[in-house]
Amino acid sequence: MFSTIIDILTSEEFIKAAFFPGITLVMLYALFTVWYERKLLARVALRIGPLHVGKIAGVFQLVADAVKLLTKEVIVPSKAYKILFVISPIIGGFLPLLIFPFIPFGSSWIIYPSNVSLLIVFAIIAVSPIPFLVAAWASRSKYPFIGMLRFGFQLFAYEVPLFLALIPVVILTGSLDLQEIVTAQKNFPFILILPLSFIVFLISSIAEVERIPFDIPTAEQELVAGWTTEYSGVLLEFIQLGAYLKADALAVITSILFLGGWLGPDIPFIPLEIEEPFWLMLKSLIVLSFILFLRGVYPRITIDRLLDLGWRTLIPLALLNIFIAAIIVVYIF
């Protein structure tokens, strides 16, 4: 019995699930993103950002904030649909956690390898906003209601191009396996031959995670906090966790699909098991920095422009790129 437990605790599967690229990495990555966003935006605005809590660069400010949210009273409005109001954000915070077991962080760093990992990941991404729509509806209040409608319109407009932007990658590699997609970029990353797809995918990803300039559903100046207005305490923490996890996942997936994933120059004396995740995390950090940086430099766009961009520009561009990718595969490769 005791030896079985020791076997499990020291097994590769346990280490992957518990530490890297498992739950510890995922939660730390989400925490890091919050801290990094604050620091980055502070620098953009010539401020310092979190400083006092924690000796190094205010790193414990996040812990303080998390403790604050965890220890606040959970308030459920009297008009709300109570069960849905409480359960929806919890499910919404949980679903993005399920994306990560299927994302490879290196040729051997994956929790569950699958030959349809790309489809699984995007199925979870497509489902993940639904609990938040339900949460907004369950609030039964006018700001969440308007935010929910905007959220719905935005999702409808940007999920189609997000999905279409993947197809050229599938055509070029002939695979739905994220590991094979990275291997196929051995000679050059797909951003060089599919720049349009990359741009469409990145813009759609930013809209998918409601980052500025696409934060219309939670527009603070217009809708208080949009569909999250009635939420506080741990339920708000779940909503934020879900949003940051999805942003992190999309940054990693963008790196895998278009930037060559974990492929990079060899670093002397560093084993491949460390080098591969290093390159992937570095590329993800660059993508994440771009996504976060927009918040510091762009104003929010109006809903008519947002829908115009999605329906009238991104979808035709995504289809054009599929056509180009098909021509490349048929006549060049």
Binding site: A17, A157, L164, V224, W311, T313, I315, I322
Partner: protein, 124 residues
């Protein structure tokens, strides 16, 4: 031990994390229910009673277009799989992709004229 075991472990850890986070406020958070706290947010104004009225909202026609584009998305995806699996059908698939691309640009131009606000049955 297999990857399925690792996936199961990961899901157990994820569920445990979420459950612990959800349970912490039950132990640590104060519980002082008040009617005022449970009233919907009104930007500092005195909340007014629940009432129902018509809520005109724009852009619903896009939802109809979404249905069409969602089907097109599935067709394009399946066609791309066919392109990979059956290269001898490449010409037909290229014609399909080309037609859809031209059609999407045409629709993109035409959508500017689409009436987005429906008031009493007429477009505005």
């Amino acid at each position: 031990m297999s990857p399925l075991f690792a996936l199961t472990l990961y899901i157990v850890f994820a569920v445990a994390t979420v459950v612990i986070m959800a349970l912490v406020p039950l132990i640590l958070a104060p519980w002082k229910p008040m009617i005022k706290k449970k009233i919907s947010f009104e930007c500092g104004q005195t909340p007014f009673p629940w009432r129902e009225e018509a809520f005109p909202y724009e852009y619903f026609p896009y939802l109809i277009i979404y249905v069409a584009y969602a089907v097109i998305g599935v067709v394009v995806f399946l066609s791309s799989i066919v392109l990979v699996e059956a290269p001898h059908l490449a010409d037909r698939i290229l014609i399909l992709f080309g037609s859809l691309t031209v059609g999407a640009f045409f629709i993109g131009i035409q959508l500017r004229e689409l009436k987005q606000k429906l008031v009493a049955g007429r477009g505005e």
